[in-house]
């Protein structure tokens, strides 16, 4: 079902947890809410599930008012961070719970519930675990049970709160692909809360980057990657180098090198420039152009080498280069640095009316 969230405000005491969040998800879409802790993403999930009531704003599902419904009327599937499986019930009873608590008239007959539980066990690939208890399961299995239990009520909306947070890295990657497969099979509109940008970008059709109770940018992973709406988004989506810069004519000009600005157009000012190690290129030998640097560290054994280098100004930058381009690069040698694209952050400088470049800062 199509979800529309319209200017939601939610206050905890004096602290605004949601400061006017608007968002929409198409029918069957997988949307990730990405942001640091305290950005309001979990609060938004609780508002959608009916566990919190916003002060202002509206939520509509296929155009129908959603906020006036009680949590039990909403029919959302909520997967909790710690899964919240019923500890004294078997896996099968956990999954069947949402069907068994329905009023007699709406409750499916027993064989039908049983068949549905079996189908969900198969969908989440935990066949044969139906008689186990939650405490007898691994973290990954518990998460599958939580998803199966949420899907049992045929939810109009599936909400996942940091579902991979409690799992180790290997299981996490496995389950990520599984979750996408389950979503595609169930076809339910899904919202996933995460602080892991890699997870959001890998899983979701569209990602909403949240900060201070607002949606900073909402778009496909490709859109976010190619055109971040703000320095915050750019920084949150990956590792960055920093250096003082001047922004003008769509270029970010650092001391000794410059790069096309991928920030909002037509900006002029002084501030801090951000660029990714993966957008940084180092070349040695005659004819190389760019900022002269000295290489101070090379790490990594795989296809990508990570190289730390220092400019004459003292600034340290990180670069990531494919191994086959690193031939002549060695620690202690000199090279030239060029940057494919950068993001100028002139908000802070503009706010303080600074005209001098920001002080040099040691950065990783």
């Amino acid at each position: 079902m199509a979800l529309t969230i319209d200017k939601i405000f939610k206050q905890y005491g004096r602290y605004p947890a949601l400061a006017g969040v608007s968002l929409e998800a198409r029918d069957g879409e997988f949307v990730a809410l990405l942001g640091p802790s305290g950005s309001g993403k979990t609060t938004l999930l609780r508002v959608l599930a009916g566990l919190d009531r916003p002060e202002h704003g509206g939520v509509f599902l296929d155009g129908a008012d959603f906020l006036s419904l009680s949590p039990r009327e909403r029919r959302v599937g909520l997967v909790f961070q710690q899964y919240a499986l019923f500890r004294h019930m078997s896996v099968a009873r956990n999954i069947a719970f949402g069907l068994e608590v329905r009023p007699r008239a709406a409750r499916p007959p027993r064989p039908e519930i049983k068949a549905r539980v079996e189908a969900l066990l198969a969908l989440t690939r935990i066949e044969g675990l139906g008689e186990r208890y939650p405490e007898q399961l691994s973290g990954g299995q518990r998460q599958r049970v939580a998803v199966a239990r949420a899907l049992a009520v045929e939810p109009r909306l599936l909400l996942l709160d940091e579902p991979f947070g409690a799992l180790d890295a290997k299981v996490r990657n496995e389950l990520r692909a599984e979750l996408r497969r389950i979503h595609d099979a169930a076809g339910v509109t899904t919202l996933l809360v995460t602080h892991d940008q890699e997870e959001a970008m890998a899983l979701a059709d569209r990602v909403a980057v949240m900060n201070h109770g607002r949606v900073e940018q909402f778009g496909t992973p490709e859109e976010l990657e190619a055109g971040p709406a703000s320095p915050f988004v750019f920084e949150f989506l990956g590792e960055v180098n920093r250096g003082p810069c001047v922004v003008s004519d769509g270029m970010v000009r650092f001391d000794g090198f410059s790069a096309p600005d991928i920030g909002p157009p037509n900006r002029v000012g002084v501030g801090e420039g951000l660029f990714r190690p993966s957008d940084t290129h180092l070349a040695a030998g005659p004819g190389a152009e760019g900022l002269p640097v000295r290489l101070i560290g090379i790490a990594g054994r795989g296809a990508i080498r990570r190289i730390d280098c220092q400019a004459v100004s003292g600034l340290v930058f990180a670069a990531e280069m494919p191994e086959h381009l690193c031939g002549a690069l060695a620690v202690g040698e000199r090279a030239r640095l060029t940057v494919r694209r950068a993001m100028g952050d002139i908000a802070k400088a503009a706010a303080t009316q600074a005209v001098t470049p920001a002080p040099l800062r040691e950065t990783a």
Partner: protein, 278 residues
């Protein structure tokens, strides 16, 4: 469990002496008196011991004790559950005060717990004249005994439940609600099963205390033989009559109750441990 992991076999004279000392002390202050109770009860043979229970006053005391417990225990179990749930699940003004208030009877002398009801409902109490006019008897009657017992046993269920409910968190209950469960269904299918061992534990303690309570009940009873005397009061009354076999026979019943409670409690803990360990 961490405590279990650091436990090791007894070795060396120091720990040995410590353990032996502790055991000797317990044997002296708990074992010996308990043994005396049972020994005195059958001092003149099993016949007189059994005859003591044929005394109609003794039978009335047993009936009254069971009746008081049968009213006070369910009421306090229900209140304890409600109080524990609201304290564990909600943040509200007066929460800390409620917590302290629940603990108050533990530090209050039971005599006070009895006296407050006399001051409220006694014939010279605040509501005394109105109650007299309406013909309702609270003090020196069953309602007074029940009120005194309830006040003394208020903390026992709530204190078992609060830490557990805080530790378990609200997520399972919230999950039940989002899955379409109503409040009663949630209570029946999620909240109660999750705390059932702690609740049973609290009920056992409440029951043992309710049947054994002396101080509060003594103030409220009026000591009318065969009418307002519970078993502990009966023990004292018979003892003062120099009927030692009768007193110790009734006392052995109370001591037996305590032992049964302990065994039930241990069995419960074992079951609960086995469930969480598996």
């Amino acid at each position: 469990m961490i405590a279990g992991a650091v436990r090791r076999p007894l070795s060396g004279p120091g720990p040995w002496l410590l353990a032996a000392g502790a055991l000797a002390w317990l044997a002296l202050v708990i074992g010996a008196p308990l043994a005396v109770v049972f020994a005195q009860a059958v001092a003149k043979g099993v016949g007189p011991f059994l005859d003591a229970f044929k005394d109609p006053d003794c039978q009335a005391a047993i009936r009254l004790t069971l009746l008081v417990a049968a009213i006070a225990v369910p009421l306090n179990a229900a209140f304890g559950l409600a109080a524990a749930w609201s304290i564990a699940r909600f943040e509200f003004r007066g929460r800390a005060f409620l917590l302290t208030l629940i603990d108050l009877p533990l530090s209050l002398s039971p005599v006070i717990s009895g006296l407050v009801w006399v001051l409220l409902f006694g014939s010279r109490g605040w509501f005394g004249p109105e109650l007299d006019a309406a013909g309702i008897k609270i003090v020196f009657a069953l309602p007074g005994l029940v009120l005194g017992t309830i006040l003394v046993t208020v903390p026992l269920v709530a204190r078992q439940l609060i830490p557990l409910m805080i530790e378990q968190g609200a997520d399972e209950e919230l999950a039940a609600v989002t899955l379409g469960s109503g409040g009663w269904t949630m209570l029946r299918k999620v909240t109660l099963p999750n705390v059932r061992y702690a609740l049973l534990h609290g009920v056992l303690l409440t029951n043992a205390r309710a049947m054994g309570e002396f101080g509060a009940v003594s103030v409220l009873s009026g000591h009318i033989r065969g009418l307002t005397e519970t078993l502990p009061l009966h023990v004292e009354a018979v003892y003062n009559d120099y009927d030692f076999v009768g007193a110790f026979a009734a006392a052995s019943l109370l001591a037996g109750l305590a032992i049964v409670t302990l065994i039930a409690k241990a069995a419960l803990e074992r079951t609960a441990m086995a469930r969480t360990a598996s």
